[in-house]
């Protein structure tokens, strides 16, 4: 799972897609996950990093993580999606 290279992520958690002009804001944990995706960490590595840092359990993480990835994918922000889609 990779975030598209051209997606800009600010420290405050604002994503900007320069192709479509869309902006999205994410919360601090979202920003952290985006940065891990940027570093091309695997799902497993991301899971370990978040579970080690926050007091949450694996099923809760898994559900929220998949939801988050689904939203990124839906908005065409991940590498395996066509650049041309609006």
């Amino acid at each position: 799972m990779k975030l598209k290279k051209n997606i800009a992520v600010s420290e405050a958690g604002l994503l900007f897609n320069p192709v479509t002009g869309e902006s999205f804001s994410v919360n601090p944990i979202g920003t952290e996950i985006l940065n891990l995706l940027r570093e091309e960490k695997t799902d497993e590595q991301i899971r370990s990093a978040i579970l080690a840092k926050y007091s949450t359990d694996n099923p809760t993480f898994e559900k929220d993580y998949q939801d988050f990835i689904g939203i990124l994918s839906h908005n065409n922000l991940l590498e395996n999606h066509e650049e041309t889609k609006a």
Binding site: N6, A8, F16, P18, V19, T20, G21, E22, S23, E82, T84, K85, A86
Partner: protein
Amino acid sequence: MKKPKLNIAVTGLNAIDSPGPGVSVIRALREATSFDTRIIGLSYESLEPGIYMHDLVDRTYSIPYPTAGTDTLLERFEYIQEREKLDVIIPNFDAELYPFIKLENKLKEMGIHMFLPTMHQFEERHKVNLNEFGKKYGVHVPKSKVIYDLNTAHSLVSEFSFPMIVKGKFYDASIAYSIEQVKSCFNKISAKWGLPIIIQEFIHGTEFNVTGLGDGKGKTIAAVPMRKQYITDKGKAWGGISISDEKMLEMTRKFLRTTKWRGGFELELMKNKDGELYLLEINPRLPAWIYLAVGVGQNIPEALVNLAMGRTVKPFTDYAVGKMFVRYSWDMIVDREEFEQISIYGEL
């Protein structure tokens, strides 16, 4: 080296909810680095705000509406030229381009330069001819039909599905969800802008615009795409952001290469959910949001003036992505005497 000083006249000084491009064009010219300028405003109405912006406009003259004919317009320019020694005129309204294109040679004899599309280019890109334009140049365009009366309105139901767009030949467009609304829009728009009316297929998607400049030989001098972020009820961008969509830029370069477009322009585009780009309209002039292009590094009005003056202009190759424009309105306090001056004497 001393910069030349050019006297440049600009129209489109109005700023209602569908603002004219004039004030933005003037701001761009004021920031030009290749020449200094004296700006002459050209107005149609006494309440066009640009008339009263004395930090941007040095002097304003009222000019006759295009319906008065080219002879009347030429006569007015003979008067203005005696006083102002204009070097360049930048017309900014679709409706006035026809007379200005017709007068291009006569104005040139008077020493006034313009950089406009040819009459053929102007007519070919007209929204009335959009279907043919799309076929000829291999561009996706929404299906459209030109109608002159309402007798045929019912037959539209079999050709188009609702909603459909009802467009005026120069300005205005409304979305109609029923045949009754089509009739109402037809009457409203034709009363204002005349006939014909264009019925256009509604494309669901996201709106984008590209502004740019063609050198008239097929070369792209400038191109900046923008996503509309805030859209008024007239469909105008009140906020937008520069983007870097290669597909859009290639479509623009293709448009300029194949039509050999001469002058400024704005492409109105719609991207549907499958990522297909549809060309909705080609505006044969600079748009009201042209100052965004200046803000991202392409001073298109400056380049247009240089082309008009016969200078060589190096194409822009880059611009800043992710810069936004956010439009606002501003109440100026104006002395009644100034209003009288422009209303009674036609100059201020």
